[in-house]
Symmetry: D2
Subunit: 326 residues, 4 copies
Amino acid sequence: MDDNRTPSLLDTSNDSTSPTPRAKAPALDALLGHRFSVLDSGFVRVIDYMGDDAAVVQAARVSYGAGTKRLSEDRGLIRYLMSHRHTTPFEMCEIKLHVRAPMDVWRQWIRHRTANVNEYSTRYSVAIDAIHKTPADHWRMQSQANKQGSTGLFNPEQGARFTTEEQELHLRSTAVYRSRLDAGVAREQARKDLPLSTYTEAYWKIDLHNLLHFLELRMSEHAQVEIRSYAEVIGHVIISKWVPLVWEAFLDYRLGSVTWSAIEVAILRAVIAGDVDSAIRRAREAGLLKANPDGTLSRSRERADLEQKLIGLSLVVPWTASNEKG
Amino acid sequence: MDDNRTPSLLDTSNDSTSPTPRAKAPALDALLGHRFSVLDSGFVRVIDYMGDDAAVVQAARVSYGAGTKRLSEDRGLIRYLMSHRHTTPFEMCEIKLHVRAPMDVWRQWIRHRTANVNEYSTRYSVAIDAIHKTPADHWRMQSQANKQGSTGLFNPEQGARFTTEEQELHLRSTAVYRSRLDAGVAREQARKDLPLSTYTEAYWKIDLHNLLHFLELRMSEHAQVEIRSYAEVIGHVIISKWVPLVWEAFLDYRLGSVTWSAIEVAILRAVIAGDVDSAIRRAREAGLLKANPDGTLSRSRERADLEQKLIGLSLVVPWTASNEKG
Amino acid sequence: MDDNRTPSLLDTSNDSTSPTPRAKAPALDALLGHRFSVLDSGFVRVIDYMGDDAAVVQAARVSYGAGTKRLSEDRGLIRYLMSHRHTTPFEMCEIKLHVRAPMDVWRQWIRHRTANVNEYSTRYSVAIDAIHKTPADHWRMQSQANKQGSTGLFNPEQGARFTTEEQELHLRSTAVYRSRLDAGVAREQARKDLPLSTYTEAYWKIDLHNLLHFLELRMSEHAQVEIRSYAEVIGHVIISKWVPLVWEAFLDYRLGSVTWSAIEVAILRAVIAGDVDSAIRRAREAGLLKANPDGTLSRSRERADLEQKLIGLSLVVPWTASNEKG
Amino acid sequence: MDDNRTPSLLDTSNDSTSPTPRAKAPALDALLGHRFSVLDSGFVRVIDYMGDDAAVVQAARVSYGAGTKRLSEDRGLIRYLMSHRHTTPFEMCEIKLHVRAPMDVWRQWIRHRTANVNEYSTRYSVAIDAIHKTPADHWRMQSQANKQGSTGLFNPEQGARFTTEEQELHLRSTAVYRSRLDAGVAREQARKDLPLSTYTEAYWKIDLHNLLHFLELRMSEHAQVEIRSYAEVIGHVIISKWVPLVWEAFLDYRLGSVTWSAIEVAILRAVIAGDVDSAIRRAREAGLLKANPDGTLSRSRERADLEQKLIGLSLVVPWTASNEKG
């Protein structure tokens, strides 16, 4: 080592010869390997991790050089990064999970391309002998408003019929699979008619930035309830213990945040100012107030989204108000 | 535009005001939109593409500056890039396919994370009414040598039994799915027990470098026959038309190539020199010739791989020869 | 092709034998190859592209199945995708640019890892003989408020001094570089002391989703003015022509949008309701109103951000008001 | 937790309540934080890591199911994965480095897009006060054979002249940079004429698979000597300690391996069989033996590559032999 070398601005290690220990998150260490149950036969386990709240701060401070440690405290810096979408410091943390989930859920999960994955192979091994069963009181009705959602539950009597039918189908599928294997059909082919509800397992490793993106999408109310169950365990049970400051910032600036488009801001400003005419005019210009032949407002997702945001601020929707006046 | 500006070394456009047209591959243009059948109900279609053989060359020449056009002709440059794994110029071409494949195949396909994907949603829409059926003469037996492979076919009489059983299972699955939908179960939940053999569709967009990597893995003899059928259509029917020079180089330098490890090269050199003792000694040092208690050689994948390579060069495997001598 | 096959729900091609033509954006076709000047010697040119507004819609509709074409018109669907951050359909478009930029700019540019890149090699070729020169009236002063920003310009007299000094340094650097080359020093080593202001060139290919992310960051007021010049040409001149509906939605929902955190929404709701006490209490609980020893509010980026948003809605900042009252 | 649940095939944790500890690599732990010098003022330090040799095996075994632990020992499995390019298990390990390198080196380094990066910001902070200086005996001559390489050194007298000239340029650049800062020029602009030899620092985090790919390219004889110095420290000093079994397999199957194309294999087979005519005929058919007008063989990179491989096996190049005969 060259003694004359310019000292590194980032290297805060002292000159002692003892190595700098790895970042540790004791609250997560206590959970390592524990299987957190999800659905009837699934689970999530933490296998390993790299970094903690301080590792995010350490990486962020590369961009701030020497001496800035005095100026900001960790929580404020993490909140600033989250709020301003400075995402690279969050990539400096990594976590590795072992998950078991129905293939139907896994098909959604695997769409996140930024993770490292090793999935259980049903070419090499006999499929996991577990199928996701739906209890009688868990059958959901198709939403009419949201073509890709569900709303409300069937009553248990109706549900019991679906559950029995499902059980019979599972038994039948399993019997066919087993009989193929017993007859010597190749595993890679025998599996082809397994139901999507069959469980699979995988190691899944991802950096914290991409994990938060996954959680934002999969903890959302728009996410299907099954994958949301996994996301909520990962978020509330695991990540909250691992990086509590990041988690707090995420809940505030990402999961709980509301974004207003430029047009929506303009209308909001008019509504707050009490200028209903201007608000309605702007909404009309933006195409939000198109009328049906019968004079009622035609359906508009954009207007519906805006109305929800206004109501969220306890504001009166101007075109509803004016309709009432009319 | 600044007239005093240094001319770009890469910009070969003349000074005329007419725009430079996009790269075109006429042989591929003739196939656009055509559905190439795969399996019983699947297909592959080209929707769009960007670039051609010349676009690879164009990008590669960025690294060679002005005037090199004289020095190398396109085919030689492309072969050089392929041989030396200079991969970035191949990323300058892009293709977009529309594919229909069984979910069982798609589960393997989607593991390639470097593509852009929009898959048909069975949350939003009713599942595609097509299931991959296995004909009586297509049932494969489990390989004993290769735990994740198959070897040989069942005779059609046995196969007919599997096919009938499969047909019944498909009818049953479909009936359950339909009855759930008819009763008003949410689509996102009704689908959970569909068999993996159910077809799905997707737009799949990928650059040429990553596509070649996909094809190398999925056209391999180790790939499962179903996904290999898709890879072969994509490769031999589509890519060969789109970028014929790249395709030729790929077949030679990637699909048809053989890699020898440092240890294998050392043993090969000894075998060629006729120095059997040295070859055996090196193999022993590398742990390839461990013996069972009964004196026979213990199973070793590494040795088996090497033996195959030696036989591929019509060479005698030295330890087999020496065994025979003994 | 199997005539009995279930028709694809996505395949809208008719049964004629003529191929489906590629997506075309005529307004962009007219610009292909044209060099749009940026800075003193840089430029951006479109080499090729794939897809258009309709290709985004086409991909999005995969998730909506057959028959939905009647329900939504393209513009509304694109705005919905942008607003709800459904990003994958935007990945179905791709563009390839040829850019020339100073290495100092390129160092920021290349941090976006989701593009395909072939950069001009100064190992293989002599460096491009162009250096980014700063005119006398372009020298910017260090911002005190924003440690990574600039604010205000030097007067041209002061600037002229910097410009002359710069010119001399450029001449000196170039002379050293040339003399090394003339003496036979390897190009890969001779280049090591070139100034960061030296121009480089590259082909840069990226999908529309990732390009919009690049533009959101680099068209921002926080971006350095040099790279912002490139981003603005790419956005306003090129992308606006290529995918006008996407561009309109991007300006509204991304560039011009404002995001309120959960805490900020709670305070905003109180402010709108005229409940100043509640607003202040919530801000205090969130740690936004910490006081200095002298009783003034201590500096807080979070509070400053919130104040800006309130002012943007022409609202009175409650703690300022109460201070005035006190 | 559901007691009736099917046990996980991958979960080898016992039922005790104590958490499973993280994977540890003691030989790497001993080096954590230590600065390994590279070039005159650069270094590499390990900040953190995830996984070890056993973690690769653990991930690979997901694809092999229960009970396979008996069948393969770790070393053999790792070598098999490396040899057959089963890359995903290597992605299950991750390492985070702190590096200091000249920007000229960093420009090459950052082209690897699969890493997470936080680089020192010269917008926010004053540039690191260290420039890579070339000693008098380190000036390399341009290779004539390889346009992007160097070959041989200048004698120290000539080198001393380059070094002095470099020193003067560095002093001048630094003086200009400092005078701008002193005058209040924004840091983001003042830096624009820093030489590429200026040092920068970064945290760099990457998974083991992508790190090996980086090392394969950057430890190669084709890599520029400066970045190669970094790669060799990372490989031989750090990775060899972290994952010794992976490192051994990498040296054998990747760094030290030789790949023969399909055509090359065919020619090799003929050469080994002593069939010179057939070897020459095949080489001619493959376009490797094109003649110049004067009858000599025209330059061909492909032929040169093949000749090198033949010589590496101590074989006679057939067309050279036959020329001699003629």
